[in-house]
């Protein structure tokens, strides 16, 4: 039994989102029932909003790096989810009786594997999910580094360790 089943049309929507926003990173959520994804929620990447880099769990090196860049350039190497969008998505997920299953984002110029920053933040977030009454999601990455081909990979990130998720495409 796979960890998750994701319909091809949802994967296509993720790739479209990534291409629309490139060279900036896109981000969003997938939700569904019984380990099958049914819904995609695009979330605005607000890393360019002043102060966003400070309240995210970026480490000091990443903050220093981000602060050397212009706001536009920041969105090429990082994402911060707009929590207004996140709240709206969470509300819709609940209204439809779905579970949050996946957090996705794009790597316009890097491979489809979690960066050091991705792993750190996912690890910091582990304790937060249960506090906000959500399960720990899988993390899906889409890489456009070999565009026009898109590489999609999904992982579990727990305790600072990364392992591939067993995803069945339906």
């Amino acid at each position: 039994m796979p960890d998750l089943s994701i319909p091809q049309h949802i994967l296509d929507q993720i790739v479209s989102h990534a291409r629309e926003l490139a060279p900036f990173e896109c981000c969003g959520l997938l939700a569904g029932v019984n380990k099958t994804v049914t819904h995609l929620y695009r979330i605005t990447n607000i890393v360019a909003v002043e102060g966003a880099e400070k309240l995210s769990t970026f480490d000091d090196d990443k903050v220093a790096h981000l602060e050397r860049l212009s706001p536009e350039e920041r969105a090429e190497i990082a994402f911060v989810m707009d929590m207004q969008d996140f709240s709206a998505a969470k509300k819709d997920i609940r209204k439809n009786g779905l579970d949050l299953q996946v957090v996705y984002h794009s790597h316009p110029k890097d491979p489809a594997r979690p960066s050091h920053t991705d792993i750190k933040i996912a690890t910091d977030y582990e304790e937060i999910w249960q506090r906000i009454n959500l399960p720990i999601p899988a993390y899906l990455l889409v890489s456009l580094m070999h565009s026009p081909a898109a590489d999609i990979r999904t992982y579990w990130i727990t305790g600072g360790a990364v392992r591939p998720a067993d995803v069945h495409i339906v």
Binding site: E25, C27, I46, V47, V49, G51, A52, K54, L55, S56, T57, F58, K62, I77, A78, F79, V80, M81, D82, M83, Q84, F86, S87, K90, K91, V103, H105, P114, S115, H116, T117, D118, I121, A122, D124, Y125, I128, R131, I132, N133
Partner: protein, 90 residues
């Protein structure tokens, strides 16, 4: 008392504490009184108009204050407040 959970990026402002207490009657007052003890906290959480910044959420007992009364959401003894930074990555 109300328990307030502080996320990692704000702990430098709370002397490293992951949990602090408040006796405030609502979210605005809670942020104000925490800011008096831990200066700079309010600026991280709220914009110039006092509205919650888009890269942070506050939950009262697992409920998002954006679905309650926002910053006017009332608090009572025994409530648990979580300040949650935006999901992010690189």
């Amino acid at each position: 008392m109300i328990k307030v959970r502080i996320p990692t990026p704000l702990r430098p402002l709370t002397k490293g504490q992951g949990e602090v207490e408040s006796a405030a009657a609502n979210i605005v007052d809670m942020i104000g009184s925490l800011d008096a003890t831990y200066p700079g906290l309010k600026n991280r959480l709220c914009d110039e108009k006092g509205d919650l910044r888009r890269f942070v959420n506050i939950y009262v007992n697992e409920e998002d204050i954006r679905f309650l009364n926002g910053k006017d959401t009332s608090l009572k003894d025994g409530d648990e407040v979580s300040i949650v930074p935006a999901i992010a990555g690189g």
